[in-house]
């Protein structure tokens, strides 16, 4: 494979590692939050706490995919993440009775400075720029 063409298709390594760090921090935050919620009060809001656990898993998978250069997995994970933030954020306003407690994605991630909303957009943008390559 032509290395010049590959280099053009690659994601900027600085952006790539910055995204990995951001996803690792979010994974840590979501893992801690969901572990505490599920271990102490899961029956209070099973849907919300399960979604927090899923988001933690998703963040970890995306960080792993970005590090290993698995573009498709990172793309799929970021897309699911963005859809999740938008759906859960909207449902939080439309059907507030479904959510006795908050998830990581409640209010479009407002409790986390809207990072859960901004991050998948940035990741998808960076991944889109690297299209044409199966890896990063």
């Amino acid at each position: 494979m032509n290395s010049g063409r590959m280099n053009n298709a690659y994601m900027n390594p600085v952006a790539r590692i910055a995204l990995i760090v951001a996803y690792a921090v979010l994974a840590l935050a979501a893992l801690g939050r969901s572990s505490y919620q599920i271990s102490t009060k899961f029956a209070d809001a099973p849907l919300a706490y399960s979604i927090s656990a899923v988001s933690a898993l998703l963040y970890a998978v995306i960080a792993f995919a970005l590090w290993k250069g698995i573009r498709r997995l990172a793309l799929a994970g970021s897309s699911i993440e963005l859809a999740g933030v938008l759906i859960v954020g909207t449902l939080g306003y439309v059907e507030s009775s479904w959510w006795p407690d908050e998830t990581v994605w409640t209010g479009y991630g407002s409790a986390y400075g809207w990072v859960p909303l901004a991050l998948p957009i940035l990741a998808l943008w960076a991944l889109y720029r690297s299209k044409g390559s199966r890896t990063l």
Partner: protein, 137 residues
């Protein structure tokens, strides 16, 4: 508990602010990368003091154990992400062909960006711990 709220917590916030500024400065001027490594070393020391103080508070009792332990682990778990750029150094010990390979200037910028992200996260962790301790004190 008072020691944490009066001394350690403000210290962690100050250290986080210095780390954030050092990270931003390194991203703007990569020659400051060496100074950032000194700041990171200092931040390690501050986090160790924070963790030891919290462990002493836990041993003395009166605080929610699960969530406090969780935040101690979070504070410590953030540290390895500082200096993550070393994993992208061309001579790093790795057989992964898809890992990002960084040039010298990129290493400095990645460390700067990581420092800014970790500074915010560490400050939030300290703030959450202070909120918990403040509620029970």
């Amino acid at each position: 508990m008072t020691a944490f709220l009066d001394a350690v917590y403000p210290g962690v916030l100050a250290a986080s602010a210095v780390l954030f500024l050092a990270g931003a400065a390194t991203m703007a001027a990569i020659r400051l990368h060496r100074a950032l490594t000194w700041v990171v070393t200092g931040f390690y020391a501050v986090t160790v003091i924070e963790a030891i103080t919290l462990i002493v508070i836990l041993v003395n009792g009166g605080v929610p154990v699960v969530i406090t332990v969780g935040y101690i682990l979070a504070a410590v778990a953030l540290l390895p992400l500082l200096g993550i750029a070393r994993l992208g150094a061309p001579d790093a010990d790795s057989d992964d062909p898809n890992r990002p390979i960084l040039q010298t200037d990129q290493i400095a910028r990645v460390d700067g960006a990581a420092a800014m992200i970790i500074a915010v996260a560490a400050a939030v962790v300290a703030w959450r711990i202070a909120t918990i301790l403040g509620a029970v004190s």
